[in-house]
């Protein structure tokens, strides 16, 4: 087991805690599973756990978590969003870091919880503490744990979709590409629209179906033109949207969450929207 997880965060909520824990104890990372991974694709959650454990962290999964509240927040339903967000704040109070296999959910906690609770000064400290220790998975591995790319083999022509929240709210761009860089056989072709929204946008994709379809078609056209046989990304929402449109158009391109490939666990589950062949 690597010892990279032994670096302590400099600011801790209580000096005693620091004194007790200062000597090489593992970091405790709370996995924010995200509702889409929880419900649709548990393999991504297990891949994330594997990556974090391989990096030397102790992973806990608070059972109290459900969703980050973003669907309500982005719909303008502040009270509903807050009710769900409060659970997240409580559930992850005692962990060193919160890591989500999603730029969107991590971005919600990190950049939007402070905005959501701006009218509740009593919550400010708890919200700020949570925001400060929350990371998107690949960003946490690279930016906090300073992980090096793992060697391995994954022979496929791939392309990477930068999800908007991860890219623009959290600066996730180089980290996943860096972590993929030592996988033998994996060639990463950049598409011109890598940073263009795929048209998911949460409830947007079902409220404005036609516009969303036009947007995802632009993405799918680019993917098809690139010759890539695998689309990787860090957010289930975008990936389900892209996979669903690729499949509807009959294009044989697989779509996976980057964590599955990085953890070497791609064999654990068929690609998104594919069948495992069992009856």
């Amino acid at each position: 087991m690597s010892d990279t997880c032994r670096h302590r965060p400099l600011i801790q909520p209580g000096v005693q805690v620091i004194l007790i824990r200062m000597h090489d104890e593992q970091l405790t990372v709370g996995l924010f599973v995200t509702c889409l991974v929880d419900l649709m694709r548990p393999s991504v959650g297990f891949a994330a756990v594997k990556l974090l454990e391989n990096a030397g962290c102790r992973v806990v999964v608070p059972a109290q978590q459900t969703c980050c509240g973003q669907p309500a927040f982005n719909s303008g339903a502040s009270a509903e969003a807050k009710a769900v967000a409060r659970q997240v704040i409580d559930a992850f109070r005692d962990v060193d870091y919160v890591v989500a296999p999603s730029g969107s959910c991590a971005g919600m906690i990190k950049t939007h919880y402070p905005e959501l609770f701006a009218d509740e000064p009593a919550q400010a400290a708890a919200v700020a503490a949570l925001a400060a220790k929350t990371y998107e998975l690949t960003s946490f591995l690279v930016d906090v744990l300073r992980q090096k790319p793992a060697a391995g083999t994954y022979p496929v022509a791939a392309t990477y979709h930068d999800s908007c929240s991860g890219l623009r709210e959290l600066g996730v761009k180089a980290q996943p590409r860096y972590l993929l860089s030592k996988l033998e056989g994996l060639s990463l072709t950049e598409i011109p629209s890598a940073e263009t929204c795929c048209g998911f946008g949460g409830l947007f994709c079902v409220k404005y179906t036609d516009i969303s379809a036009k947007m995802v078609d632009a993405k799918v056209d680019d993917i098809a033109a690139s010759g890539a046989k695998l689309v990787l990304g860090g957010d289930m929402g975008c990936l389900m949207n892209i996979a669903g449109r690729l499949q509807r158009r009959g294009l044989a391109v697989e779509v996976r969450h980057v964590a599955e490939v990085l953890a070497g666990s791609a064999d654990d589950a068929p690609a998104i929207g594919e069948s495992d062949g069992k009856p």
């Binding site: 548990p42 999964v61 059972a63 978590q65 303008g76 009710a83 263009t196 946008g201 516009i211 379809a213």
Partner: protein, 474 residues
């Protein structure tokens, strides 16, 4: 202009099915964003310049009353007049009164979004005047009786064939055998008509990209030079500008200009940048004898100090439109009023009310590209969310969505219930979808499955599997 924002969804659907429009939008994609990127790559200090520009506009807005009064005093000292207009109706009436005073018949107009906002052409025509747009794009859409579909390239939704068609339909002296297939031929044709208008115009109406408090000058940028002929040839010039256009100094204006063209078209500067101060002086060779500035509020002063105040930094470069995937998909007319794209989705509800426009802030994926490219660093996604909150708080949004959100919040707020409900749901869907791995159709999910397959859930939730495995571990 009557707002059609309340039928946004239908407008968008029609736009998506409009083949010439889609072809025009596709051509547009490869243009400005690429040129903007290149221009910014040539200017390493661009981000520092953005900070400077933002600071200038923030300072101007924080003391807007002072700078506007300073601007007025300088205009008056130069021999001009300033008219303070609280709303569109007051601005229209003032312009009409001035045109009557000038005994005007023909009125030339340079491109002005404020002109669109107050629907000045319709008002002038109704009052018996003949307003003629002199910006080529504006001229074309005036012939076609259309609204601009973009704030800097108003006819971007048209093909050159459509333009040729409009010229043939409206230019009576145009011989049928004269070819109009090349842009140059169309330009020559429009120029011949517009020259005549420039020479006969009694009043010229322009907008302003900026107003300079220090000097009382107005700043206009164009690529066609039409605004200069509109300003200098008629007897009277009327500038219509909204109050947030004021900047404190000439130096400030220079800083904003460095951001404007790069963000808009990828040019270092527009072809023509003209500073105008007051009417013609005794020893000037040309210029208008009378010079008037209409200062329009129309809801802007209400935005000051509120959650949308930062919107008043907007310099109308159009970068947010050019980079918006929704604008790129449906074009400007779908937004239904004067200002399209992300800036319009914030501005329109602020100017004409959220009732009937609440689709605009909702029809965004909040992808953040607009804020990323905005030279004034306007937090557009944050404002779109604020408008969604305002709309939701006043009971807006489709009923099924509101009911769905309430049900979701009830369940998501009770982890035990959430586990029970989702556990059951993914079991069933997992079984149903197992064979193909996805659904082509699913009752209640048509918004998704109308255009894409829906991946089937794995059948067990992560939480259930995690509890099982960890239980086994211990």
């Amino acid at each position: 202009m009557q707002s059609k924002a309340h039928t946004f969804t239908a407008n968008a659907r029609a736009a998506l099915a409009d083949e010439p429009l889609q072809a025009a939008l596709a051509r547009f994609q490869g243009g400005f964003p690429v040129k903007r990127r290149a221009a910014i790559d040539r200017l390493p200090e661009f981000d520092a310049l953005r900070d400077a520009g933002k600071a200038i506009k923030d300072a101007a807005l924080a003391n807007l009353d002072i700078y506007l009064e300073q601007f007025e005093a300088k205009v008056v000292a130069a021999g001009g007049h300033v008219h303070w207009c609280e709303d569109a109706a007051a601005a229209r009436q003032t312009v009409i009164d001035l045109c009557r005073e000038a005994g005007a018949k023909t009125i030339t107009k340079a491109k002005s979004m404020i002109g669109e906002e107050i629907a000045i052409n319709e008002a002038l025509a109704a009052a018996g005047f003949t307003p003629i747009e002199t910006d080529l794009g504006e001229y074309i859409i005036q012939l076609r009786d259309e609204a601009p579909s973009h704030i800097i390239v108003p006819a971007v939704h048209l093909s050159k064939e459509q333009v040729a068609e409009s010229f043939r339909a409206h230019h009576r002296d145009l011989p049928a055998e004269r070819p109009l297939s090349e842009p140059q031929a169309m330009l020559d044709e429009a120029r011949a008509i517009l020259r005549q208008a420039f020479l006969t115009a009694d009043v010229g109406i322009t907008g302003a990209n900026m107003l300079i408090a220090e000097t009382g000058s107005t700043v206009l940028v164009t690529n066609e030079g039409n605004a200069d002929l509109t300003q200098t040839l008629p007897r009277m010039q009327i500038v219509i500008a909204s109050i947030e256009k004021v900047v404190p100094t000439l130096e400030d204006a220079a800083t904003v200009l460095r951001l404007l063209a790069r963000s808009a078209t990828g040019q270092e500067l527009s072809v023509y940048t003209t500073f105008t101060t007051g009417p013609k002086r005794g020893d000037d060779l040309d210029g208008p004898a009378a010079f008037h500035v209409i200062l329009l509020d129309n809801g802007r002063s209400r935005m000051l100090g509120g959650p949308f105040a930062e919107m008043l930094r907007c310099i109308r470069c159009g970068a947010c439109l050019n980079h918006c995937p929704v604008y790129s998909a449906v074009g400007g007319h779908a937004y239904g009023w004067v200002y399209p794209g992300p800036m319009g989705s914030v501005l329109t509800p602020n100017l004409i009310g959220l009732a009937g426009t609440s689709d605009l802030p909702n029809a965004s994926t909040l992808c953040g590209r607009c804020e990323e490219v905005c030279p004034m660093r306007i937090p557009l996604p944050r404002m779109l969310r604020q408008l969604r909150r305002d709309a939701f708080a006043s009971g807006g949004g489709p009923k099924p969505m509101r009911a769905g959100l309430a049900a979701w919040a009830f369940v998501a707020g009770r982890p035990w219930l959430y586990r029970l409900a989702t556990g059951l749901g993914v079991r069933i869907l997992g079984l149903l979808g197992r064979r193909h791995g996805r659904f082509r159709r699913l009752p209640g999910a048509s918004g998704w499955t109308a255009v894409r397959d829906l991946p089937a859930p794995a059948g067990r939730t992560f939480q259930a599997l995690w509890t099982e495995r960890n239980g086994a571990r211990q």
